[in-house]
């Protein structure tokens, strides 16, 4: 049998290695290799999707023994939680390569870094060995550091350094938690499936491990108050860097929150659930209000990520506190779907801001006005995704947030105050649309070209999926639901 999952993980890396040993490659060939390998990877993840998942545990598992003495092995596989994220990852990478194809700035190095990052990202979601998970988790940091430091904007060195130090400081506690789980398991193993099944750490050790994990994932998500690296990194990152950072890498945090904290330490998480919930609510509301205060369009979208990921945290915390398995499934369904929706919608918004910046070389909202008349396709696309982002029914965020609020109302009704944030989000998007796209166009923008064919090609799949998930959430939710109803704790 062909190891599809491993192929999907390592195919991009193979592309990177091939490119590394082809010095002096032209940019056309470099971009061609990037698009080709990421397209093949996307096809492989579609095959994974068609194979589907089974209730209870993981499917499509592939294993190779590594160090038997300490129970470390190469183990990959998917369940309903990771499979949608894998598909989202391969799609966003493919679109990023298509978007980037016009760029000529050290194309070969950029494509190599992106392919490395794709391997690390898919690997993070499919790893079933804690050591392997950590390796992929960290490799993604390194690739993103070089992407920001090498291709970012004016103040990129400082932003990249801050990003790397902040998130490394954030991820090292996870290493301690992993070691703690390892030392508590009997016999010694790094197999995440066994950790989920036997939950080796309990009591005070479990609580310490949970705190370490929560710190790691809160930095990654990012949740209040450790979110401060995110705006700096986003503003300085190149467009595709922002798309991947927001669309894929933030999900490492929420994915880890479910996979590690919730599944391996459910008891500790249940008792600490209220604290996590409070931070989730603060993140959601605070993110929305700070976004309202921004004048830079990219910064604004970066802060709405804090808000949207806050809802995911709320969903997971509510799931941890839920006693009724049906309600827990609703909360987790909502949280997981929210991850997918956020990837689609915010990924698209960052693409659009990048396209605007390519034309205007500024992102200050007050510099624009009336762009809807000059660049209607860009304008309407932005308005479409802005409405999707504020949770309009019929678009991707609505079914996700609806389920999160439904479960919250059932378990911890006060936390529904975070629904206020939706009003704030609506206000800030309407203000942004008004400032940038409505009113009388400024003279300097009259010559601005509208989106070209390649750019439209990048947006079409995202528009289609945003509508599809909004109207028929079942296409994704059925897979998620298979797993969330069979978690077994």
């Amino acid at each position: 049998m062909i190891p599809i999952v491993s192929l999907a993980v390592f195919l991009p890396l193979i592309g990177a290695v091939i490119l590394l040993f082809l010095p002096g490659t032209s940019k056309a060939v470099s971009h061609g290799i990037g698009i080709g390998f990421s397209a093949l990877t996307f096809v492989l993840t579609l095959v994974m999707w068609s194979r589907g998942v089974v209730p209870g545990g993981f499917s499509q598992v592939e294993e190779v023994s590594w160090i038997e003495a300490i129970g470390a092995a190469y183990r990959v596989g998917v369940d309903g939680l990771s499979l949608p994220l894998v598909l989202l990852t391969s799609l966003l990478f493919l679109l990023s390569f298509v978007y980037q194809a016009k760029s000529s700035d050290r194309a070969r190095s950029f494509v190599i870094l992106m392919l490395m990052l794709e391997t690390a990202s898919i690997g993070t979601f499919v790893a079933l060995d804690a050591l392997l998970f950590y390796v992929f988790f960290e490799v993604s940091l390194v690739s993103m550091y070089f992407m920001i430091a090498g291709w970012g904007e004016k103040d990129r060195q400082r932003a990249a350094l801050m990003f790397f130090l902040y998130t490394l400081l954030g991820s090292l506690p996870l290493l301690l938690a992993i070691l703690g789980m390892f030392l508590a398991s009997d016999p010694y193993t790094f197999d995440m499936r066994i950790w989920i099944e036997t939950q080796p750490l309990t009591g005070i050790g479990g609580m310490l491990a949970l705190i370490a994990m929560l710190f790691t994932f809160a930095v990654k998500i990012p949740a209040f108050p450790v979110h401060t690296w995110l705006p700096a990194a986003h503003v300085q990152a190149p467009t595709v860097g922002s798309v991947i950072l927001a669309g894929v890498m933030l999900k490492f945090g929420t994915y880890g929150l479910v996979r590690f904290s919730l599944q391996m330490l459910p008891d500790a998480f249940a008792s600490a659930g209220m604290v996590v919930l409070v931070f989730g609510v603060i993140s959601a509301i605070y993110g929305a209000f700070v976004a309202l205060a921004q004048s830079d369009l990219k910064r604004l979208i970066a802060y709405t990520s804090v808000n949207h990921m806050g809802y995911v945290v709320i969903g997971v915390a509510v799931a941890a506190m839920a006693v009724d398995p049906a309600m827990r499934a609703v909360a987790l369904d909502g949280a997981t779907l929210q991850m997918v929706s956020h990837g689609l919608v915010t990924g698209a918004l960052f693409f659009l801001v990048g396209m605007l910046k390519d034309r205007a070389h500024t992102r200050e909202m007050s510099h624009f006005g009336g762009l809807l008349k000059i660049t209607p396709v860009l304008g309407w696309s932005f308005i479409f995704f802005a409405f999707a982002s504020l949770g309009l029914p019929g678009l991707a965020h609505f079914p996700a947030e609806f389920q999160i609020f439904l479960a919250t109302l059932n378990i911890s009704p006060w936390a529904v105050v975070s629904i206020l944030a939706i009003v704030v989000t609506a206000g800030l998007y309407l203000r942004a649309i008004g400032l940038v796209f409505l009113g009388e166009p400024g003279k300097e923008w009259l010559k601005m070209p509208d989106l070209d064919g390649r750019e439209v090609l990048v947006l079409i799949p995202l528009v289609a999926l945003t509508i599809a998930v909004g109207i028929v959430p079942g296409i994704v939710l059925d897979t998620i639901h298979t797993t969330t109803t069979s978690l077994g704790f």
Binding site: A69, E138, A149, Q157, L168, L169
Partner: protein
Amino acid sequence: MSRDLAFLLPELTLMITVALMLVAEMVRRAGLTLLIGLAGLALAVWFTLPVLDAGTTVFGGTYRIDLLSGWAKLILLPATALSMLLARAELSGRVREGSVYSLIMLVTIGALMLAGSGDTMLLVLGIVVTGLGSFALVAYPGDDAATEASMKYLVFGSVTGAVMIYGLSFWFAGSGSTLFSALSGMQTKPLLAAAGLIAVLVGLGYKAALVPFHFWAPEAYEGAPVSVAAYMSVVTKIAAIFALAQLLRDLPIQTGWAWAIAAIAVLTMTYGYLAALVQTNLVRLLAYSSVAQAGYFLLGFVALGRGDIALLSIIVFAAAYVAMNIGAFSVVLLAGRDIDAIRGLGRRAPMLGVAMVIFLLSLAGIPPLFGFFGKFLLFGAALKAGFLWLAVIAILNSVLSLAVYLRIIVAMYRAPEGDEAAPRASPVAALVWGTSLAATLGLGIFTRLFFS
């Protein structure tokens, strides 16, 4: 006796090799000296393989043929070969070039003695042999800086050596034997045990450049040829650390040595990286970085006597440290000692730049590089021994270390100012950094080799 000698085949091979090397040096055939040395090292590695897990002692328990000394050979002998090749790249054609190779070989023999010592007298002998060779190696360039560095190194070494011998006499008084294995009797004599422990920490701490006995290291590395600095930062350091492990394995845990080691580990890691943060000379920066790295080794020490993981973690990290540190030094050798000299290196020599990035990230402990797996096992050892706070401090230091190493990486990818020369092209040095790169990249994945 013949049984003992059979176990000593690797050491005997090296002694014959060094004698042949001296003959070749007498007729001023530097290339031949190098070849004899490399052949001898290869042969010694070959002889080590069958006795790797012998788990025995020779000469009445004074010299140990165990996992630690076996791996010491498998790690230090290739490290010696790489250092010799690096010296060839740096010093080729200089007067008495062959003496450098012969001295390096001599110091390596002393290093093996240290790593296998089971007796305090052998420990002292190892310190003296490695010391004498190293003083001469540092002084090799013959200029003022080298002479001063060597002098400081010598004075510092003589004082710490004397303190150590004095302190070891307390242990002899307490246990009535010079064997480490007799130290188990020290449990009832805490004062004598403490006096000896302090003395050993002074003597071996100096050799391994642990804080606060590290002052000589940046000076000596800076004065010495880069290849000699690379050699000393790896071989003599690891030998001293292995010797300390041989000794502390037998010292009863009740004497509280684990706490002393933990305190020194914290000091060494933190001070090393803080000092490295402000260096502009890359050799000094790497010197302070290797001071800090020595602190990580000590994380494994606190778990000595609590299962295999302690020794394994020290061995794996030693192998990783050899690969990444020699690699980093060889790039400095090619690019120049100043941080401004390395500016734009990543654009002028892309492959060399990528190699340096990988060495530095491995030193910082970023997966999936070899350095990460070593540190990971060390953290695990510290946790297993119940030293959670020590692991937490080590982790905070890892963040600090990233700042240290990123300074070099950032400089490497800044736009060159135009007048920087391309790095020296040297096929021998390329062989060294290529080998180190392969080990840093690949051995992490093959860490299982160490778990045989």
